[in-house]
Symmetry: none
Subunit: 210 residues, 4 copies
Amino acid sequence: MQSSSPAGRAGRPRSAAADAAILAATRAALIDLGWSRLTLGDVATRAGVAKTTLYRRWAGKNELVVDAVAELFDELRLPDRGSLAADIEGVVLQFAGILARPEARSGLMAVIAESTRDDALRERIRASIVDRQKRLILAGRARAQARGELPPESDAGEAARTVDLIFDMVAGAVVHRTLVSAEPADEEWVHDFTRVLLSGLAVAGAYPPG
Amino acid sequence: MQSSSPAGRAGRPRSAAADAAILAATRAALIDLGWSRLTLGDVATRAGVAKTTLYRRWAGKNELVVDAVAELFDELRLPDRGSLAADIEGVVLQFAGILARPEARSGLMAVIAESTRDDALRERIRASIVDRQKRLILAGRARAQARGELPPESDAGEAARTVDLIFDMVAGAVVHRTLVSAEPADEEWVHDFTRVLLSGLAVAGAYPPG
Amino acid sequence: MQSSSPAGRAGRPRSAAADAAILAATRAALIDLGWSRLTLGDVATRAGVAKTTLYRRWAGKNELVVDAVAELFDELRLPDRGSLAADIEGVVLQFAGILARPEARSGLMAVIAESTRDDALRERIRASIVDRQKRLILAGRARAQARGELPPESDAGEAARTVDLIFDMVAGAVVHRTLVSAEPADEEWVHDFTRVLLSGLAVAGAYPPG
Amino acid sequence: MQSSSPAGRAGRPRSAAADAAILAATRAALIDLGWSRLTLGDVATRAGVAKTTLYRRWAGKNELVVDAVAELFDELRLPDRGSLAADIEGVVLQFAGILARPEARSGLMAVIAESTRDDALRERIRASIVDRQKRLILAGRARAQARGELPPESDAGEAARTVDLIFDMVAGAVVHRTLVSAEPADEEWVHDFTRVLLSGLAVAGAYPPG
DNA sequence: AACTAAACGAGACGGTACGTCTCGTCTTGAT
DNA sequence: ATCAAGACGAGACGTACCGTCTCGTTTAGTT
């Protein structure tokens, strides 16, 4: 009943270890070489795997790097620091911490650049990275509502639009600060940014300020 | 008087037309092929120029694309729409308009990605694109101060930090909305965003709200 | 006594049908693709057999093709046309007929080429093809002796050397005519060739001319 | 006056040294590896040349090897040994000497095998190797006629057919002896063979025997 | 009837070579 | 000195086969 492969029983099964080794090797290559000098042949060699094995699982460099980078963002956790503002600062700092790592910096922006000409890739990024991390905003809002810091939302559509706006503002600002301005998103900056964001949301949405 | 070569009088002078043709060809190639499939040989062919001519002027693909894209952002103008909020909305809409063009989308993010491993390139991007457009924020603030919407700044350091924060928030949010979320930064979104931004700045910085 | 498997009693016996299917598939692939583009994976697919089954029986492409081609030459028969010259012409025409078939042309020359660097392969070719067809010359000589066209040989060593020389001259000339000169070894050519050969043997060896 | 390329004046000219180095490297690789394990990448490396340079000049392995082998046969000379029979024995021995060299053995038969499925290749072999060496037969006949050993030919068509037959018999027998029977074409064998051939031609064509 | 063990299909695996593409440099003759 | 043209050494691309290896599944011949 729980057969994971109804028709896929024949033949040697794919090695599960190979997947993990390839993704780890991809991140290592991103650190050593960056996106543009990363080659799939080198990743295969690092992973102790043949090129064919790699191409059997991923269509190309873009898809591989999306998956390798996506795993990094699964480390994000919503800390319980006692208030909405403090919780958000905590997540933003973690996010900045990941973006400070070279495997994330180089890989993430490159696949986003590629995705401007490849709808399937953009959808993969959205599914693997972006939408996957919106859980943090949802969890943060739920916790703030439990604390009484935020009222329960009345309009579902409005609430979804607000989540999207918050995500674009948070992710966008941190990415721009970190990668374009090339300044650290340290505690002071995160504090300033969070204050502006929450104040703005409070005024604009008639929520109580943080 | 503007002779760029004090002693370089001998030999055939460089063609001024070639530079413009190459940059235009680069943008055309970005539209047709995107960053990753753009090749310098193809750009040279499109520009009716030999590869050597191109390499004599630019060190490589990165530098060439930075220059080709930078020209796009020089189109930005600060409109006079009567209020700070309206002025900002106008600039953000223009910025979103440029990012909607394929030659900007693909090229800009790619060179930013490359710049994460190349300090000289990041400096070139900052000089050619980022710092160059901070003039808009400065001009906007000056006009708002003239209108009486904003007080004259008292602390120069504080003011500079605020400009940087605003720039990261504006550019970051529009880029993320446009390229990652892949949703249009249309008038409605820009209005919502600007309201949150200005409200937040007003509360956080004791400025009057927009 | 002729037990094919003295100790190999246990387990599922090898399929006899598979051998025939594989050799037939090999000849079909030689016709369709020629030697160099023939792949063992494709042969296995054509034969409805797994690659492992094929490798269990043959060490590689060379050995497989030798066996597939060798079967073709077993069709050769010494016709009784009434005289030594006519008998030889008949065999040579049959030989030319086989060499006109694409599965023989491509396969035979290729394995001969390979055998120049592989003694085991050359021995296999000699055993499976060359020596196996010397029966025709021996039978032809015996019949000619019975007819009184040739005297019984007195010197066994001399006779063996002559058989080898005849074989090299016949096989060599037909192969060269057919494959290198790419002209048909038709009745006229075979007649001319046979006349020169038999005349030469008669004079050189003091045999009566054909 | 001797401009070899009317329109091909622009650009860097092809290196003449590269051609010679590539052909020599091809022969060296044939010696070390044989046909089937020879790779164009290895040839390029041996020649100190990039793969692209090689592919710019030759369409593939077949064409390259034909040219590399063809040069070997240009060494053939018709010696003046005083009689037609002796002259022929001399040439046949030289021919056998070349076929004893591994670069010729492996390469020649392989390209002939390939040519069974590639008309352009067969034409190239004919032009570069076969027809090119028919000069030896023509020169031998002319010298024999000058000596009075052979009468001047009366029928041009008949003469051409005879040349072709002789060529097929000589080349075929030596190749078969050397490569298939794998026995040396030494002086004794060449003497026997030449005697049969010339005797046969004399009787069949009413020429005086050697 | 149950057991045993080799053969079977399927297909994933680590490799190697393919022929193509682009890179950035170099070498021509012409301007 | 710069230009267009294009050959050059270098090296990655993605594909095709190689021959081997694991799987789960027959299929005979014992027991």
